[in-house]
């Protein structure tokens, strides 16, 4: 299980959902937002399926969250960043902000690994950023002029190798001593 700052809230909410006959929209909203943040799209999809119909129609924010969910499921970044511009309520705002930061970073990382070159306008469309914002987001990428279009040559981020923990070292020593005997 991946651990992050929302795990505790999540298990609390999941519990609440199981014990109430008709949980309020609040619970569903937060659950949905956290699932999206943790990239548990299957859970988010199922959550949407089990929300009662009239709640879906009445609660705008919930519907908006589902638009995000659909966009993520279809890997459609442009839609995602379009729909995330919304006046979120206080409780969800923090989670959504985190989600936005995370997804934007993910998109840029993905672009860096998946593209040798990409037209600036395409990336602007995908990330829903203005040219200047994009410039700030990826300062170290090389730019070239191709006709009248700007083309970006992304630079792959160096992965900083994780330093082996004590636990791993212990296992390795055990392994070596086993081999020696």
């Amino acid at each position: 299980m991946q651990q992050d700052k929302y795990s505790d809230t999540l298990s609390k909410l999941e519990n609440e959902e199981l014990e109430n006959i008709s949980p309020g929209a609040e619970i569903y909203q937060q659950l949905m937002a956290i699932y999206l943040y943790q990239n548990k799209l299957a859970n988010a999809k199922l959550l949407w399926m089990r929300i009662s119909n009239n709640l879906k129609e009445q609660n705008k924010e919930l519907a908006q969250l589902n638009l995000l969910n659909l966009a993520l499921q279809h890997n459609s970044y442009a839609d995602f960043f379009k729909h995330i511009k919304y006046d979120w309520s206080e409780t969800n705002k923090l989670i959504i902000d985190d989600l936005l930061v995370k997804q934007r970073e993910e998109l840029l990382n993905l672009t860096a690994t998946a593209y040798v070159s990409i037209y600036e306008e395409n990336l602007m469309e995908m990330a829903q950023l203005t040219s200047d914002e994009l410039k700030n987001a990826c300062l170290d990428w090389t730019r070239e002029q191709d006709g009248d279009k700007q083309i970006l040559l992304p630079k792959v981020k160096e992965i900083t190798p994780r330093i082996a923990s004590d636990d791993q070292l212990l296992k390795l020593t055990e392994f070596v001593s086993f081999l020696e005997n």
């Binding site: 993905l110 395409n122 390795l172």
Partner: protein, 446 residues
Amino acid sequence: MGSALENYVNQVRTLSAAGSYRELADELPESLSLLVRNWSILDNVLETLDMQQHTLGVLYVLLGKLHSAATANPEPVQIIQLMREFVQRSNVEQLRFAVCPFYETCHLFTDFLVQKNLSILGIKVLSRAIEQIRQMDTQLTPIHADLCQLSLKAKNFNLILPYLDTDITDISTVAAECKNQQQQQPQHTLDANNDAKYFLLYYYYGGMIFTAIKNYERALYFFEVCITTPAMAMSHIMLEAYKKFLMVSLIVEGKISYIPKNAQVIGRFMKPLANYYHDLVNVYENSSSEELRIIILKYSEAFTRDNNMGLAKQVATSLYKRNIQRLTKTFLTLSLSDVASRVQLPSAVEAERYILNMIKSGEIFASINQKDGMVLFKDDPEQYNLPDMFLNVQTNITQVLDLVKQINKMEEEIILNPMYVKKALGSQDEDLASQHPKTYSGDPTD
């Protein structure tokens, strides 16, 4: 009428106080019909009994209540509340004497909730019930299937997944429980026949749950267990599992996954009944997305009837992906429009979208060059030199070692089992006995 129920209460109280639970468990089934008849005043009976002290008595009242649910039409909230309280407060030692009725109560409770469309409220109750009645963490009980059913109905898998992830080493069945307790009650024979049903259902529902969360490998395993269960006749649960098995194995492996030879039921009964699905497999193997699309359209009625249409669409998507993956083996670079035409996607933009998604999920390694519209296919960059990979290998090794230990333990149990020893020795004796006359009669000089 009232006096009969009074008798019931008295009987429960005296025998429980005396601690003769075995006797009580043997006698209570006879009162069940009485309880069902008097459904209107069962609440009064409940008031006189204590869940902790008179667990068995309360259990039968609950059973009576659930049996009469069709006529009595009780308030669902009240039943749920009762069950919730019961699984929390009942005395496990007493329950052990009445495992079968307990299972039955859970089955009825499940049916009741499914009917009332309140499945989500039963998940916690049943999960608690499993915790209480199972003798070890790796034991499968008939309640597991109920929990799966409720989870599927409620579309909430948070609680069920930990159960599905444990490997089962022991199965608790009604037949075995009755044998343990030397009970010869006719009403349980019906339930004993259902042991296989609940076993199959658990694996069928489990497979469906894993398919829903797109853990296809695990889903394939669950369907495989379901269809390879030794059987003389085919169960319809197995047939449905077989259909899903075929589709999921296309998604995972691109062909029919290996089926152990001992499953004769498949060839004899299931194949003829799953024609559409075999056609699908054959077309899939031609790797033509266009043909696949046509055949899915052609059989869409059958797939919809089996509730497999969504899965069929997943199969179609997986073929595009598989074809792209195949391209990476042949080509180093390819233009996006070439990719689109080779895997029969409508446009280069669509192909780019597929490739981007596949790079994201780590299914292929490539980079796209938008400037000249080309894709560069690369090899897996994994160097196997990072601590993460080490950790990965380490956990896998531990898992395998644990598995070996488990198998050794189980083998030891079998070898030490008196029944097995007797049989093994017996067959050896027979061999010896049958060999002797042979050697003599086979010797012409004698």
